[in-house]
Symmetry: C2
Subunit: 112 residues, 2 copies
Protein backbone atom coordinates (compact mmCIF):
# COMPACT_ATOMS: atom_id res chain seq x y z
CA UNK A 1 0.00 0.00 0.00
CA UNK A 2 2.85 2.38 0.75
CA UNK A 3 5.33 3.86 -1.68
CA UNK A 4 8.15 2.11 0.12
CA UNK A 5 6.53 -1.26 -0.47
CA UNK A 6 5.60 -0.41 -4.03
CA UNK A 7 9.17 0.53 -4.84
CA UNK A 8 10.99 -2.22 -3.01
CA UNK A 9 12.80 -4.81 -5.03
CA UNK A 10 11.31 -8.18 -4.35
CA UNK A 11 13.15 -11.35 -5.06
CA UNK A 12 12.17 -14.85 -4.26
CA UNK A 13 14.66 -16.38 -1.85
CA UNK A 14 16.96 -18.74 -3.77
CA UNK A 15 16.76 -21.54 -1.21
CA UNK A 16 12.99 -21.41 -1.15
CA UNK A 17 12.90 -21.46 -4.93
CA UNK A 18 15.01 -24.60 -4.79
CA UNK A 19 12.73 -26.13 -2.13
CA UNK A 20 9.68 -25.54 -4.32
CA UNK A 21 11.55 -26.92 -7.31
CA UNK A 22 11.30 -30.21 -5.43
CA UNK A 23 8.18 -29.91 -3.28
CA UNK A 24 6.23 -27.82 -5.77
CA UNK A 25 6.10 -30.86 -8.00
CA UNK A 26 3.11 -33.08 -7.48
CA UNK A 27 3.68 -36.16 -5.26
CA UNK A 28 7.21 -35.41 -4.07
CA UNK A 29 6.18 -34.10 -0.66
CA UNK A 30 3.75 -36.93 -0.14
CA UNK A 31 6.35 -39.55 -1.09
CA UNK A 32 8.82 -38.10 1.44
CA UNK A 33 6.08 -37.98 4.05
CA UNK A 34 5.11 -41.62 3.44
CA UNK A 35 8.75 -42.69 3.88
CA UNK A 36 8.88 -40.97 7.28
CA UNK A 37 7.47 -44.18 8.78
CA UNK A 38 10.55 -46.11 7.68
CA UNK A 39 11.78 -48.00 4.61
CA UNK A 40 9.08 -49.09 2.20
CA UNK A 41 8.81 -51.06 -1.01
CA UNK A 42 7.69 -49.49 -4.27
CA UNK A 43 4.18 -50.92 -3.97
CA UNK A 44 3.84 -49.79 -0.35
CA UNK A 45 4.73 -46.26 -1.34
CA UNK A 46 2.30 -46.38 -4.27
CA UNK A 47 -0.56 -47.62 -2.09
CA UNK A 48 0.09 -45.04 0.63
CA UNK A 49 0.37 -42.10 -1.75
CA UNK A 50 -2.71 -43.19 -3.70
CA UNK A 51 -3.65 -42.15 -7.21
CA UNK A 52 -0.11 -42.16 -8.60
CA UNK A 53 0.86 -44.32 -11.58
CA UNK A 54 3.82 -46.70 -11.52
CA UNK A 55 5.71 -44.72 -14.12
CA UNK A 56 5.29 -41.37 -12.36
CA UNK A 57 6.24 -42.88 -8.99
CA UNK A 58 9.29 -44.45 -10.58
CA UNK A 59 10.34 -41.07 -12.04
CA UNK A 60 9.80 -39.32 -8.73
CA UNK A 61 11.78 -41.86 -6.71
CA UNK A 62 14.64 -41.59 -9.21
CA UNK A 63 14.55 -37.81 -8.95
CA UNK A 64 14.44 -37.85 -5.13
CA UNK A 65 17.33 -40.34 -5.09
CA UNK A 66 19.29 -38.06 -7.43
CA UNK A 67 18.76 -35.22 -4.96
CA UNK A 68 20.01 -37.52 -2.19
CA UNK A 69 16.76 -37.23 -0.25
CA UNK A 70 15.82 -40.89 -0.77
CA UNK A 71 18.05 -43.96 -0.92
CA UNK A 72 17.24 -47.15 -2.82
CA UNK A 73 18.50 -50.23 -1.06
CA UNK A 74 18.51 -53.80 -2.27
CA UNK A 75 18.45 -56.68 0.21
CA UNK A 76 19.95 -59.84 -1.19
CA UNK A 77 17.31 -62.55 -0.94
CA UNK A 78 16.03 -64.87 -1.69
CA UNK A 79 13.77 -63.24 -2.46
CA UNK A 80 15.63 -60.09 -3.44
CA UNK A 81 13.77 -57.05 -2.17
CA UNK A 82 14.12 -53.38 -2.93
CA UNK A 83 13.28 -50.69 -0.42
CA UNK A 84 13.27 -46.94 -0.45
CA UNK A 85 14.18 -44.95 2.61
CA UNK A 86 14.95 -41.38 3.58
CA UNK A 87 18.53 -40.15 3.72
CA UNK A 88 19.61 -37.77 6.49
CA UNK A 89 18.69 -34.90 4.18
CA UNK A 90 15.22 -36.32 3.59
CA UNK A 91 14.74 -36.95 7.29
CA UNK A 92 15.70 -33.37 8.08
CA UNK A 93 12.60 -32.27 6.20
CA UNK A 94 10.21 -34.17 8.48
CA UNK A 95 9.86 -31.51 11.22
CA UNK A 96 9.04 -28.99 8.50
CA UNK A 97 6.40 -31.32 7.05
CA UNK A 98 4.89 -31.67 10.53
CA UNK A 99 4.57 -27.90 10.78
CA UNK A 100 3.12 -27.76 7.30
CA UNK A 101 0.50 -30.33 8.23
CA UNK A 102 -0.37 -28.38 11.37
CA UNK A 103 -0.74 -25.19 9.35
CA UNK A 104 -2.99 -26.91 6.81
CA UNK A 105 -5.08 -28.42 9.58
CA UNK A 106 -5.78 -24.95 10.95
CA UNK A 107 -5.89 -22.85 7.80
CA UNK A 108 -6.99 -25.11 4.95
CA UNK A 109 -9.81 -26.90 6.72
CA UNK A 110 -12.47 -25.66 4.33
CA UNK A 111 -10.75 -26.43 1.07
CA UNK A 112 -11.41 -29.50 -1.05
CA UNK B 1 13.45 -53.43 6.27
CA UNK B 2 11.61 -55.19 9.10
CA UNK B 3 8.40 -57.17 8.86
CA UNK B 4 6.69 -54.69 11.14
CA UNK B 5 7.46 -51.87 8.76
CA UNK B 6 6.63 -53.93 5.71
CA UNK B 7 3.22 -54.80 7.09
CA UNK B 8 2.25 -51.47 8.58
CA UNK B 9 -0.59 -49.59 6.99
CA UNK B 10 0.72 -46.33 5.63
CA UNK B 11 -1.52 -43.46 4.89
CA UNK B 12 -0.61 -40.00 3.90
CA UNK B 13 -1.72 -37.53 6.57
CA UNK B 14 -4.87 -35.76 5.38
CA UNK B 15 -3.70 -32.28 6.40
CA UNK B 16 -0.41 -32.72 4.64
CA UNK B 17 -2.21 -33.96 1.53
CA UNK B 18 -4.25 -30.78 1.64
CA UNK B 19 -1.11 -28.67 2.12
CA UNK B 20 0.49 -30.23 -0.95
CA UNK B 21 -2.73 -29.76 -2.87
CA UNK B 22 -1.87 -26.06 -2.58
CA UNK B 23 1.93 -25.91 -2.30
CA UNK B 24 2.58 -28.89 -4.55
CA UNK B 25 1.31 -26.79 -7.42
CA UNK B 26 3.93 -24.82 -9.23
CA UNK B 27 4.26 -21.12 -8.20
CA UNK B 28 1.87 -21.11 -5.24
CA UNK B 29 4.56 -21.29 -2.57
CA UNK B 30 6.66 -18.68 -4.31
CA UNK B 31 3.72 -16.31 -4.66
CA UNK B 32 2.97 -16.58 -0.93
CA UNK B 33 6.63 -16.08 -0.16
CA UNK B 34 6.83 -12.96 -2.33
CA UNK B 35 3.82 -11.48 -0.54
CA UNK B 36 5.55 -11.95 2.82
CA UNK B 37 7.21 -8.56 2.25
CA UNK B 38 3.83 -6.84 2.26
CA UNK B 39 1.08 -5.97 -0.23
CA UNK B 40 2.14 -6.00 -3.88
CA UNK B 41 0.59 -5.26 -7.22
CA UNK B 42 0.07 -7.91 -9.87
CA UNK B 43 3.12 -6.81 -11.84
CA UNK B 44 5.31 -6.68 -8.73
CA UNK B 45 4.37 -10.25 -7.91
CA UNK B 46 5.01 -11.33 -11.48
CA UNK B 47 8.45 -9.71 -11.58
CA UNK B 48 9.46 -11.17 -8.21
CA UNK B 49 8.30 -14.69 -8.99
CA UNK B 50 9.91 -14.62 -12.44
CA UNK B 51 9.07 -16.84 -15.38
CA UNK B 52 5.32 -16.97 -14.73
CA UNK B 53 2.81 -15.84 -17.38
CA UNK B 54 0.05 -13.32 -16.67
CA UNK B 55 -2.68 -15.86 -17.15
CA UNK B 56 -1.13 -18.45 -14.83
CA UNK B 57 -0.42 -15.83 -12.17
CA UNK B 58 -3.99 -14.61 -12.44
CA UNK B 59 -5.30 -18.17 -11.97
CA UNK B 60 -3.02 -18.76 -8.99
CA UNK B 61 -3.98 -15.51 -7.26
CA UNK B 62 -7.66 -16.35 -7.75
CA UNK B 63 -7.11 -19.81 -6.31
CA UNK B 64 -5.13 -18.49 -3.33
CA UNK B 65 -7.83 -15.88 -2.70
CA UNK B 66 -10.48 -18.63 -2.82
CA UNK B 67 -8.54 -20.51 -0.15
CA UNK B 68 -8.45 -17.31 1.90
CA UNK B 69 -4.66 -17.23 1.94
CA UNK B 70 -4.44 -14.06 -0.17
CA UNK B 71 -6.71 -11.02 -0.21
CA UNK B 72 -7.23 -8.73 -3.19
CA UNK B 73 -7.74 -5.14 -2.18
CA UNK B 74 -8.68 -2.17 -4.32
CA UNK B 75 -7.64 1.34 -3.32
CA UNK B 76 -9.92 4.00 -4.75
CA UNK B 77 -7.75 6.34 -6.74
CA UNK B 78 -7.20 8.17 -8.72
CA UNK B 79 -5.49 6.17 -9.95
CA UNK B 80 -7.32 3.09 -8.76
CA UNK B 81 -4.80 0.47 -7.67
CA UNK B 82 -5.16 -3.19 -6.89
CA UNK B 83 -2.95 -4.98 -4.41
CA UNK B 84 -2.61 -8.50 -3.19
CA UNK B 85 -1.71 -9.28 0.38
CA UNK B 86 -1.57 -12.23 2.73
CA UNK B 87 -4.48 -13.01 5.03
CA UNK B 88 -3.83 -14.24 8.59
CA UNK B 89 -3.92 -17.78 7.22
CA UNK B 90 -1.35 -16.96 4.56
CA UNK B 91 0.85 -15.16 7.07
CA UNK B 92 0.72 -18.19 9.39
CA UNK B 93 2.57 -20.13 6.69
CA UNK B 94 5.59 -17.81 6.72
CA UNK B 95 7.49 -19.42 9.63
CA UNK B 96 7.07 -22.76 7.88
CA UNK B 97 8.43 -21.31 4.64
CA UNK B 98 11.42 -19.95 6.57
CA UNK B 99 12.17 -23.44 7.86
CA UNK B 100 11.71 -24.86 4.40
CA UNK B 101 14.20 -22.38 2.99
CA UNK B 102 16.69 -23.24 5.74
CA UNK B 103 16.30 -26.94 4.99
CA UNK B 104 16.83 -26.37 1.26
CA UNK B 105 19.86 -24.21 1.95
CA UNK B 106 21.48 -27.08 3.86
CA UNK B 107 20.21 -30.11 1.99
CA UNK B 108 19.55 -29.03 -1.60
CA UNK B 109 22.71 -27.01 -2.16
CA UNK B 110 23.94 -29.22 -4.97
CA UNK B 111 20.75 -29.37 -7.02
CA UNK B 112 20.10 -27.23 -10.06
Amino acid sequence: MTEAVANSTRTCDASLTRAFGVLGKRWNGMILSVLSDGPASFSEVRRAVGGITDSVLSDRLTELAGLELVRRSVSEGPPVSVHYELTDGGRALLPVLDQLGAWAHTHLEHSA
